[in-house]
Every structure is written in C-alpha cells, then in structure tokens.
Assembly symmetry: C2
Homo-oligomer: 168 residues x 2
C-alpha cells in the first residue's frame, strides 16, 4: 500500500543507468499481471541504447522526458493473442501499473507516456515491431532527480455504497 500511495510520475532522471537486475524485476512484475482467460496479451521491447532512445524521443512532444531516461519499455498489445478488445486493454493497463509499482519499489522513477501513441507507426518502425503489435504506452525509467506531487479526488466523489447516489 505504501508503494501504491507514494508512487508518482517522474519526468526527470539522473545519469546513472538502470541495473539489469532491476529491469528483470520490472519485467517480471509486468509478466505477472492478470488478464482475461490468462491470455497475457502483452509484449515488451526494452530499450537501453542511447541512439534508439533519441529516435523514440523524436516521436513525442515529451521528447525531453524520453531523452532524460536511461531505459524505455515499450508496451504492446499483441493482436494475435486478443480475445476481447476492452478486456485486453484493461489487462495492458494492469500490466503497466505492475511495472510502475515495481520500478518505484526498487527506488526508480518512471512515467507512463501516452501522447507518443499519436506516432505509434513510427515507433514500431524504429523498434522493428510488426503490425501485429499495437503500441499501448512507453514507460520511461531512470533514477529520479525530482520529487513529484499529485492529488486524487476524495473517495466520496468516486465511490458509492450499495447503490449509485449514496456516497461512500
């Protein structure tokens, strides 16, 4: 719960590269996400190479965040493994969240990038990914050099007891 509550999007990273053992932990967390019928519709491409990171940075208006990262994980929906578009998309969200939590738990910072999906074809081309893989997010990861804050709505605004309209 501490990990869930204290995780924030980190958008600026230090120079230190991310150790392979930590990358393994993050990927393993993604792997263990739940999915409908346990179909595991995800594929990951891990990018550590600086030139590739630079190319991916060119695909988003948030290129500075990408450039600052030492590690990217591109997360794809594998169209060949789908069984239900909505449920598979939720499973990808669960998978990404597992990886964000894992990164935070080993003192890394990370941010879930979505704007880059506007240029998903270009990202696929850079990463040599086939059309059967649909880019769903790029996670930028590194050692945090900022403290970020965020807020959430109160439970009374989003939760109801027994029936809609009875604030929790």
């Amino acid at each position: 719960m501490d990990t869930i509550r204290s995780r924030r999007s980190i958008r600026k990273f230090g120079d230190a590269s991310v150790e392979d053992e930590k990358i393994d932990i993050i990927l393993d967390a993604g792997r263990w996400a739940p999915s409908g019928m346990n179909n595991q519709p995800w594929q990951f491409i891990v990018v550590k190479d600086g030139e590739t990171i630079e190319e991916v940075a060119g695909c988003t208006t948030y290129g500075d965040i990408v450039r600052s990262a030492n590690l990217l994980i591109a997360v794809f929906l594998d169209r060949d493994r789908m069984y239900d578009g909505t449920k598979d998309t939720m499973a990808i969200g669960a998978c990404i969240q597992n990886m964000l939590l894992a990164a935070h738990s080993v003192e890394l910072g990370a941010v879930w990038l979505g704007e880059i999906l506007n240029r998903r074809e270009k990202v696929n081309q850079i990463l040599n990914a086939p059309d059967s893989l649909k880019l769903m997010a790029v996670i930028a990861i590194g050692y945090p050099v900022e403290r970020a804050t965020s807020t959430r709505k109160a439970l009374s605004e989003i939760a109801h007891l027994e029936q809609y309209g009875h604030p929790y």
Copy 2:
C-alpha cells in the same frame, strides 16, 4: 514485488465478512491509480448487502463465485470524464490491479470478473447506476478458502531487447 508475484485469483470465499477498514484500503488503492491527464475516469459501487449480491450473481454464469463473496466492488468507466477511450480503459485496468493488490496485501482473496459485462445493463439497473457509467468489471472479494495456482509465459516469449525479434 512479493504481493505482485503471489497474488492469484480467488474464487471461493469463507463466511467472514470484510472489515470496513479493509474496504477503505482497497478503495484508496484504486483511487491512487494513474490515469491520462490524471482524469481519474473511474467510479466504484461497493456492495455488501446479501440480497444485492444475489441479484448481481444472477447476471453471470459465474454466479457461484459472486454468491460466495461477502463484498463486491463494481468498477465503472465514467463516460462524462473520458478523454481517450483506449487510455481511459487502460487506466481502469491499472485501478483494478491496484485494488486486487491491496486486497491481497491485507490477506483477502479477490477475483476480477469480466463475463458479467455481457449483462452490464442489468447490473447498472440493479445498482441504480446511470447510463453514463459503463461497467468495466466486478471484483468479488472475501477471505480465501482455497489456494490457487497460475502460470505465466517466460520473459523470453514476451520481451525483446532493443528491437523486436531479439528475445530478452
């Protein structure tokens, strides 16, 4: 990481009801999920009432699982807060995963039910939820009376290094 790795879907629950403090923890975990533009597109309806649980059980072929639970959390996408269908759907997945992890962390069992979406209009009617709320999942929760096992694909089957086709 232990919580992520050891969580399993639990489909059979004991009679003990879930303490309110634990329900608060689960909802708070859902609340703290990330979402695009921090739009927090989720709404929850917490169901503890036995008659309502019975009615909801009638909406799925997995009614026995629902009946066995002492607590349901119906998770909705709030159409009035959407900004991008795919990203909002992933955010709901992240939110559900946070709640599943939180439940497991306080020794509860839970299962993410999806088949019930086939009768989402009926569930909305039972819970008095407006059409602006789209049912995305029902989480059934209680004290576990079974140990469940599951498996995942190896990382080499789902992860690639630098470019697609170079197994991690």
